[in-house]
């Protein structure tokens, strides 16, 4: 571009100012995580004396050993991982089943289906009606309640449908002429071509399930089926009350401070490991349907 080629001194200064602003913004995002990591790796004495900033002092892995040695955390971790995998698979299947038939303009009743879907985006019955439904379906305290009620997001379905619309009709028509069934066309034409959107929605569903805790809070009493985030919520609140107690002069719970940090770290890591690799896909997913030309 011409503008980039004739670069004056003032645009260089401008570039630097914007770059510095971006560095500051990035630091604001990173510092809480760095601080967390430092605390989880620090020695009790340094934490009690409030000497830990961004680098661990008295480096040790005791907190992580405790977390990994305690079957309570490990079990919740494995259970949440399992839950996330299963519900992501089911959700992706349901989303595909819903999105694919709706791209056929010849489908009779298509507008009725679309209306059924659209209404749910604008009006929801609310927390208590949903709760009473779970109760009547005998889903309360049933681990399935963490999978089935959230197995289809209409927003995600719309993202997938928009992606399907973008696949040329000619591919489908060629398959139809070859006598392929609609199951077959979905399986052999649409799904192989839709890897970017499937990756995006898998990320959205998996993150939603991994991070979600309100359904377990409302529908689950059995602690064995608590997802990690709900367990973490309970732990943080107990430990937080200890922290209030400390201010009033009780003994300081040193290990619990680094332990707390280690548990938070432990429940964050899976997502932080995954999302950067899917970035180029989800950016497309977010913008589908939201940007009007």
């Amino acid at each position: 571009m011409i503008a980039r080629m004739v670069k004056s001194k003032s645009t260089f200064v401008g570039d630097m100012v914007f770059a510095v602003v971006c560095v500051i913004i990035s630091l604001m995002c990173l510092i809480p995580m760095i601080n967390l990591l430092a605390r989880s790796l620090s020695g009790t004495d340094f934490l009690v004396k409030h000497q830990v900033y961004l680098l661990p002092k008295g480096l040790n892995f005791d907190a992580y050993t405790t977390v990994l040695g305690d079957p309570k955390y490990l079990k919740a971790f494995v259970w949440t991982l399992f839950l996330t995998l299963v519900s992501t698979l089911i959700s992706l299947t349901m989303t595909t089943l819903c999105a694919y038939p709706l791209i056929f303009t010849k489908l009779k009743g298509r507008s009725v289906f679309n209306i059924i879907i659209t209404i749910t985006m604008f009006f929801s019955a609310g927390t208590i009606p949903n709760y009473l439904l779970m109760k009547d379906l005998n889903l309360l305290d049933n681990p399935l309640v963490l999978i089935i009620p959230s197995c289809l997001s209409v927003y995600n379905m719309i993202i997938m449908r928009s992606f399907f619309y973008g696949i040329p009709d000619s591919l489908r028509e060629a398959a139809e002429i070859d006598g392929a069934s609609y199951f077959r066309i979905l399986w052999s034409v649409y799904i192989p071509l839709s890897k970017p959107v499937i990756a995006t929605l898998a990320l959205f569903y998996a993150v939603g399930r991994w991070n979600g805790y309100s359904d377990a809070l409302m529908y689950m009493k059995n602690k064995d089926f608590y997802p990690l985030q709900l367990l973490l919520y309970n732990i943080l609140n107990n430990i937080n009350s200890v922290e209030v107690a400390t201010q009033e002069g009780f003994s300081t719970p040193g290990l619990s401070e680094s332990l707390k940090a280690a548990i938070v770290m432990f429940s964050t890591i899976p997502i932080l490991c995954v999302y950067p690799f899917l970035q180029k896909y989800f950016i497309h997913g977010v913008t589908v349907g939201a940007v009007k030309e």
Binding site: K106, Y233, E243
Partner: protein, 321 residues
């Protein structure tokens, strides 16, 4: 006579219609099979609950079916009246609106500004790294963010307060003082979402024709006048769509964020409708009252959305439909 003719025509065409249908279904039945489970899901989990909304107008009883429950007093409106006489609900309603308005006024422009800055970054690699970092908070759960907030903001051992006291200041109770809590809540909301929300604006900016910028450069426009006169107008449609949706959500309240961040010391400012419903409904078993509250919230939400969209169209924008 024409009526008879028509009738005859109908009679004779009926089998033909049926043949057409059979042929149609023979061809397309698979699509209906595929749609069966999603539609069943929507009917059971999105439409059946609407039946339970009737509880808002009835005296809830655990042993009776909805049909059998007696209507509430005051022509069924008893629980709506009761809600507005309930000090806690009125407070939760006020908090919901105040927190959402603050989110809107402070939080809405920030992703736009961030996207403008990113769009101006000359170093592509660096831009990518900044984006990856800025998207990160969106992937953290509110429980984890609460955990981070404790580490940053508690008066004695929080990182921020450690700095403040080291510099000779007084520790600030960011999480335990009702007024300061509101600031923390808004800040954490922005922190979590500004990067993610900037994606849409960046995509809209990528759609602006480069020729416009080139023409402006030829006319001697500087960087800021290009941002002001080309980039911002270029994403105006996107801004309006998102603004309409935000306005439609002004009385809505997610559950995860307020519930994770609130604590007993700040409840006067932190209780919102969703947490009120959870505590008084699922915990407190006042099903009729909380269903009424939920219904009120849903209806006001739809009205706000329609109004915002109407306003956008009135102002010459396209709105969301």
């Amino acid at each position: 006579m024409s009526a008879i003719a028509k009738e005859q025509e109908l009679v004779s065409s009926a089998p033909k219609e049926r043949v057409k249908w059979v042929a149609y279904l023979k061809r397309y039945w698979q699509l209906y099979v595929l749609l069966f489970l999603p539609m069943l899901y929507l009917l059971v989990f999105k439409y059946v609950p609407m039946k339970y909304v009737l509880i808002a107008f009835k005296k809830y009883s655990i042993v009776q079916s909805i049909g059998e429950m007696p209507w509430a007093d005051n022509h069924g409106m008893q629980y709506f009246i009761q809600a507005f006489q309930n000090k806690d609900f009125v407070n939760a309603l006020r908090n919901t609106i105040v927190l959402n308005l603050l989110d809107l006024v402070i939080g809405f422009p920030i992703p736009i500004i961030f996207a403008l800055i990113l769009n101006e970054l000359a170093f592509k690699r660096f831009k990518k790294v900044v984006q990856t970092i800025a998207y990160m908070p969106h992937f953290l759960s509110w429980v984890i963010i609460y955990g981070l907030a404790i580490q940053l903001f508690t008066p004695t051992s929080g990182l921020v307060n450690m700095f403040i006291t080291k510099l000779g200041g007084q520790a600030i109770p960011f999480l335990n003082d009702p007024g300061k809590w509101v600031g923390t809540y808004i800040f954490l909301g922005i922190w979590q979402s500004f990067g993610w929300n900037s994606i849409i604006y960046l995509a809209a900016m990528a759609g602006i024709s480069p020729e416009l910028y080139e023409a402006a450069s030829v006319d001697g426009a500087g960087r800021f006048s290009k941002m002001w006169h080309i980039t911002l107008p270029g994403i105006r449609g996107t801004i309006v769509v998102l603004l309409v949706m935000a306005l439609g959500n002004i009385i809505g309240s997610g559950f995860d964020r307020p519930f994770a961040l609130q604590n007993n010391l700040v409840m006067q400012n932190a209780e919102v409708i969703s947490t009120f419903v959870y505590k008084n409904g699922i915990k407190g078993l006042q099903f009729s009252l909380t269903t009424a509250v939920g219904l009120f919230q849903s209806i006001v939400g739809v009205v706000f959305l329609l109004f915002a969209n109407w306003l956008a169209r009135k102002l010459g924008e396209r709105g969301i439909w």
